[in-house]
Amino acid sequence: MNDVGPVRFVAKNMRLDLRLIAEMIAPDTRVLDIGSGDGTLIEHLFRTQKCDARGIEIDMAEVTRAVGRGLPVMHGDADLDLGHYPDGAFDFVVLSRTLQAVGRPRAVLRQMLRIGRHAVVSFPNFGHWRVRAQLLFTGRMPMTRTWSRMWYETPNIHPCTIRDFFALCAAEGYRVERWLAVDDEGRRAPWRRFPRLANLFGEQALFLLSRNGEKARP
């Protein structure tokens, strides 16, 4: 898991994805971006929304690049390092396209909602029709643009569907404040309001969560 990074957006989708995440984050708040890569999102949040945004990244080359750009990023591992932050240290904790690659997704989510008032989570949807069709018709593990690595070397060891994620949130008692699914171009589509349709046609999912009892987003 350390030698291959998690799935990343292809370049043309990158800005759009980060913009969608940024839209969920209130200005002037404290933000932790887990898996911050080269720091594009935290730089965007600092420059355009005056956030106190920081990052954790497991890939040392990316950390060096981000710190070399003046961004507060530390080398760390979502599975190991979140436990060291105090409760409520952040307003928003972001996990973009990394949930499926961590060792213990449920524990990471719990940590996110312990150290943050809100969690923003995006992940590739394993329920997409192309994934389902490939498994059904070929009987082999799906290989798509998103799920592009062989099963024996993929870092994406915990794939889930949009409905799986709703179920986990319900079981853990998280409130889904907002959610959306986008197609492979990163566009929001008309089926976005219907979880079952989104689970079939959505390539990526994005959720804004809070602990139950937490005030709605400012």
Binding site: G70, P72, M74
Partner: protein
């Protein structure tokens, strides 16, 4: 306080830029120095708001000659690749300051300084402190630096930067004077000196003690220097500053050209290299200073000073931290920096943390490491933006 005149009784062969404080300095050991001198060098210009000052803290055997020809050795400053115009610590933008540590031997008060005579003591040339110099701590060193910083009219340092023992000082600065430190960059450092590190220091100290010329620490009385003991201390320490890979790359098992006539002449290149390190070191460093400063490092345990919780040392801190470690450093390994980073996380501090991939060991912070230099420059530039530095 006044600019220190070169005291005629000082045995120092060269004058150092220095400031003396006549109102004394209370040390952690309970002793109060009646007066003390801080020798320093500065590069670049302090701006009108005094907001662009970077304090560089030197390591065990370093000194204030960071970016200029060293007055004793004639060699380049020890961080001239890092400090200077257009360098990571850009002297066109920042005012870069470095003070010789308390206990040192390059002009700041230390074992070679004249001993304080009790009031009414008889005449004559005061002797140096020698081995009787009081025990000092990293915090004492930082206190002395704070006096200098105050004296220069700097209310808040833009950054405190240091490697190894200098990194310990940077951590101590951030813990002791959080409001006076906008950014702290502890490099290849730790929040405490480990048992292994203390053990290596003890080997060096015993080598000095075992030298007949040490004479119970009063070698200056006989006009001697415990050169062999100090050289062995330096040789042992120098091994810990390198890595196995670096030694192999630089020397391997290569033999010296000439054939030795006896079994223990310097047969291997690595031996001759270490001997050179040892003999050149004794020409510029005082043995009692070496004892004093290694002890100060051994005492260092920042968490113990804060009820055993390192996070408590940084509670509520607004300082921006950048921790840097080097992958092949086994003296101050990455795990030590990571432990500091995690303590800073517990304090919800703003912390960047990078491990630089290199085979050069602990000494990498002194060497040409492009990723390290980019990290320094980038972190400082980011901080300058947050500090609204012009």
């Amino acid at each position: 306080m006044s600019e220190a005149p070169a005291l005629p009784e000082l045995p120092a062969p060269i004058p150092h830029q220095a400031v003396s404080f006549a109102d004394g300095l209370a040390l952690d050991c309970g002793i109060r120095l009646a007066r003390h001198t801080v020798a320093y060098r500065a590069y670049g210009r302090l701006n009108a708001q005094a907001s662009n000052a970077i304090l560089v803290c030197h390591a065990l055997t370093g000194d204030q000659y960071v970016a200029e020809t060293h007055p004793l050795t004639g060699r380049e400053g020890w961080w001239s690749t890092v400090v200077g115009p257009g360098r990571p610590l850009d002297t066109d933008r920042y005012f870069v300051l470095c003070a010789n540590v308390l206990g040192g031997c390059m002009g700041s008060t230390g074992p070679t300084s004249p001993r304080e005579e009790p009031a009414g003591a008889e005449r004559g040339v005061p002797e140096p402190w020698g081995i009787d110099f009081p025990a000092v701590t990293i915090r004492d060193m930082v206190r002395a630096q704070k006096r200098l910083v105050d004296h220069l009219g700097i209310r808040r340092l833009f950054a405190v930067v240091g490697g190894s023992m200098g990194g310990m000082q940077a951590l101590e600065w951030a813990a002791s004077y959080p409001k006076a430190v906008f950014a702290a960059i502890p490099i290849a450092a730790a929040s405490f000196h480990s048992a292994q590190n203390i053990a290596f220091h003890e080997v060096g100290r015993q080598a000095i003690f075992a030298d007949p010329d040490w004479m119970g620490g009063q070698y200056w009385r006989a006009g001697k220097v415990p050169a062999r003991g100090l050289a062995v201390a330096r040789m042992a320490a120098h091994i810990t500053y390198l890595s196995e890979a670096a030694l192999t790359r630089k020397f391997g098992r290569r033999l010296r050209g000439g054939q030795g006539s006896s079994l223990f002449e310097d047969m291997f290149e690595v031996e001759s290299y270490l001997r050179h390190q040892g003999s050149s070191f004794v020409r510029r460093f005082d043995a009692n200073s070496y004892l004093t400063i290694t002890r100060a490092m051994d005492y260092f345990d920042l968490a113990a000073d804060h009820g055993g919780d390192l996070a408590a040392a940084f509670a509520e801190t607004k300082t921006r931290f950048c921790l840097v470690s080097f992958s092949s450093d086994w003296l101050f390994p990455t795990a030590q920096s990571r432990a500091v980073a995690r303590a800073l996380n517990r304090a919800a501090a703003n912390v960047s943390f990078v491990e630089i991939e290199t085979d050069k060991g602990h000494d990498a912070f002194l060497l040409d490491e492009p990723d390290f230099h980019r990290t320094l420059a980038g972190f400082l530039a980011g901080c300058a933006e947050h500090a609204r530095l012009p």
